[in-house]
Symmetry: D2
């Protein structure tokens, strides 16, 4: 089989490095160009010494990247970059997977308000497909632009979907207490990301509102065709590197039994390779998914409250892994090609 | 001023060692006896090399401890120990501060159900005072037995009290998403407490129910004279050693403004040395209180939801520090005698 | 190609779980029996929830394990177990890879002194091959019993071998300052391995002598045919889970230039898939090898001192990974079959 | 007693914040001015929320700082700042304690070579006193300028001094394998200091040479009046925040017994409040000194090698704590005034 040629824009951050870690062993992929402003001209293995020596790619400056050979371009860039390149690339017949937020919210006004900039290509947002692989598979197959979901929204929507889809919870009183490892914040220069600050510390942040809240609400509405979903989302920063953990509190409309609830989740994810519904009263741990594309979900019933626990590795299922899963779906490879890595435990 | 003679039962766990760390520099205290089964006969400084060499106490076996010189006995023992010693010590005119759970719940049946054993002295439970220093000061002054609160309940009740006391929230829909450093679990032999398991990991636990839930509900009812408080309490284990962080979600009954809410908290803790209400939209962090007796609280309003953040060091304000604060109140010392340690940051 | 049937004795510790993590995706392997006293009868995926659901093995009690189907048995047991089973298994034509220390030291007296027990089968020690894959490949090919090297000795011998082999250092003045993540100590019940103790802490241990010192000296002598190797080895405990880092100080006999030294290392490991000699003045980091079977080595010259830095993941190249590498060599598979995992970074 | 008025230049880094943590509870000190370019005008408690609310100081811009009221100025600035202010301040009769490196090396040429800049006041270097409190007490008493030692040099010189002073080791073959928590690198913007990079990682750095090597050699020569001390010093970065750990390898000239060696150390530090010589074959741990001004030292004899272990908290005894200890000596306070904090363990 001919290899699929792909390129990566913005290869020197954490999602870029994670794409490389996963693509390097992918059986059907050849990496063409990897762009980086700051590391232009350097060997990729010099910047990422964990990569195997056989990788001979050099970073090139984005201005010099033509992507001529590539059928698919990954954007592992900050928000607001992909939207400036998309039109031209699409017009050349290339496909795009954006790991940032440029195409995640259809409501342009809402997007511009949360992201504090003018959107460069509202029309393309229209045609973009939200790449939550398990819940949008048919649309992904034919997509030209994939809006790869945020890390929190991935863990949270996979947890909430079965309940909203079955219309068994109050969609207005959802509370999401979420926690993330520090790599979710990217490779940024920020005092709060320094080891001396973040180690042996825990705190909430963005309590007044976080961009992933509208992303969660809008896409859940879209996927479930429900109109009035409202979720209060409070993120926290964990003193560790990888891992999202969402503790979700919902109100059951009627008092369903554990068996029925269990069945709703198990049937939803029966055929999913990467979503492991563990069952009732099971405890997922971030370390059970670290380094893998798995999402682990469990539920607990407390009177008429249901508590859903959901965990993923933010850099894999929450970013690069899901991007590759989407690529596999788009190009008709096995869904887990290049993604059958087991979690690193202990 | 004559020194107060005190003894410690169960000195070799984490609350015992923390009591020592704090009492050693207390201006009014002389430590008489420190018991330990496993370290009987050993120098306290051998087991706790962080203590200063001037400490010459040796551990003695509890069977050999007479406490003759002591006016006050701290129990830093597992649950179910203090209740067997209390009657005799009280009859000799000694006072007791139990850092375990034996005297925390007045409803004996409820206690026996959660703690899985028969209570040895229900009558003494009746006379015991719940040692939440800020909220029970008058009772503590004259107490013979102090039930020192659990670590979670301390952080949580200090956060909820102003709201329940002012009757401005729905007391039935309280959700508490709490996180704790691993020292909260004690110095136990348990696979989950091993570094190889707990490092770089995060998970919920006791989701089906945790003993601190009835403690919180019962004591908040007692303190606020409200009858129907119901709190859903879900604890999580943080990959760090010290620190409790509670994210509390409540529903406001009427839509109070931020200024009014702010005022309710600031006036409640105006005179409190150890509760720092930070204000509206401020972020407390566990590292801001690590090693100190401080509790830091802040609030955020999101529509008709109020989010209260509260953090303490579980071994200090959540255990040994509050025990000493209670001792200071009982024996009419300055409330912060021996407790003016600043947090260790970074 | 027919699958090779293997079994694992002692599957519930960290080396056992790591063997499973690696073997599960090995293209040529079928796992027959996995023994565990404590988890007898339980599903392997219940104890190790990070394993994929397709694994249907159950733990069996070692007394019930027959290993009838297996050509190769891994012992992931504590020291002193494999030696009691070896004779019988060998007599049945099976091969053994012992990940513990039973066959690592030929000098039985020395072994008994360091391990504090009588050796059960000195004769088999004679025929056992020390499984340092890169340096003993020919012997490994035909071995019946492999003594899989200790974690420290693997990192250290790979670093020292080129220098001793070329006879360019004083073999009497070697100083090895080594550091290990806590998983090197196994899944043991020991206060020092508790998170509350080991987190945010660093210390030396076994400074009076560690069992890996005679292992290093004896096997380096054997491999290089040199007689008087003496190494002072001081281990330290790192506040992290995986990773060995050795900082080795040696005296050059004559003042060789950097180019010559560089060449000695690069030619030695030219053909090695798993030893990455990084070059002069490069900094290896434990995170560059975490989760992978790589060893990274670099050198620095300071006057007539040479400093060699060497790092591995103690559970992979220092245990289960090297065991599988040895298996691959013994059964004539590609050396990296099942082992081409990239390190998990960041 | 009148309070001593002091000011801090560069108050917003880690040594500045640590000075504040310690001075705030010092019985004899009043803090006048605290300078910061970046936090000019802000409340000190806003930047350091761990400080008690009673602290009402605001940061002022260094250009506006007059230090009129202050008898003593602490410089918690980067290297190369204090030397530009010193002349003027000294001429006004003020005293200086520089926590950076400007006055640590008498040999100006050597200093300029290692620090890559021209020294602004070589004459003042001449009169500066190296503030290793235990070993230079008499000079410190009368000093106008204190060069506060580096963190590594403090732990290392306290460990080596007894041996060199007694002339019992080969002074040419000293090897120092040292490890530091990340706060030693300061609050800098540097990828390597990010949590995502440094957590769960360990590596050596500056292996080709580190500025503390000449500082150690020169000052040990000065203090012991020995001429040919040579130490190979290799630092490493620990995945934690506070703590220096030095493992030092020396060759005994003659084969002294353990008792004699023990006596040399115990008599040297008999009267030292802050140096705890633990004895032969004892294991110091960084957590035994975390947050305190203690240095813990122990020794191990292996044939004719002596191994000395030494640990301090780099921000306390390795920086701010020793600065205050020096202040106490200069102004004739009790040596431990404001410094009797116990380590934070666990």
């Amino acid at each position: 089989m001919n290899k699929l040629h792909v390129s990566i824009v913005g290869g020197s951050g954490y999602t870029g490095s994670e794409l490389l870690r996963l693509l390097v062993n992918h059986p059907h992929i050849e990496i063409d160009q990897i762009t980086s402003r700051q590391d232009d001209g350097k060997n990729v293995t010099e910047i990422f010494p964990f990569l195997p020596k056989k990788i001979t790619n050099k970073f090139i400056h984005p201005d010099n990247a033509t992507f001529d050979q590539s059928e698919l371009i990954f954007f592992a860039t900050p928000n607001g970059i992909a939207m400036n390149f998309a039109e031209k690339l699409i017009s050349k017949g290339k496909k795009i997977i954006d790991l940032a937020a440029d195409f995640r919210i259809k409501n342009i006004q809402l997007w511009e308000q949360w992201y504090g900039m003018k959107h460069a290509c509202p029309k393309l947002v229209e045609m973009a497909v939200y790449g939550l692989s398990e819940l949008n598979k048919n649309e992904i197959k034919n997509a030209k632009i994939i809006a790869n979901p945020g890390c929190y929204p991935t863990a949270i929507q996979l947890a909430l979907y079965p309940l909203i889809n079955k219309k068994i919870i109050n969609e207005q009183t959802i509370i999401i207490d979420a926690k993330s490892g520090i790599s979710g914040a990217g490779k940024k220069i920020d005092d709060n990301l320094l080891m001396a600050e973040a180690y042996d510390n825990f705190n909430a942040y963005s309590v007044q509102g976080h961009r992933h809240e509208p992303e969660i609400e809008e896409n859940l509405k879209e996927i479930t065709k429900r109109k009035n979903i409202k979720a209060l989302f409070i993120p926290h920063l964990l003193p560790m590197v990888r891992g999202i953990y969402a503790t979700i509190y919902v109100d059951l409309i009627e008092d369903l039994g554990e068996t029925e609830l269990d069945l709703i989740f198990s049937t939803t994810y029966d055929q999913s390779i990467f979503v492991d519904y563990m069952g009732i009263n099971k405890i997922p741990k971030t370390k059970m998914v670290r380094g893998s594309n798995q999402c682990k979900i469990s539920i607990f019933k407390r009177d008429k409250k249901l508590i859903v626990l959901s965990t993923i590795d933010n850099l894999v299922k929450g970013a690069a892994g899901q991007a590759i899963q989407n690529m596999n779906i788009m190009f008709d490879y096995q869904e887990d090609a290049g993604l059958n890595l087991l979690p690193l435990a202990p």
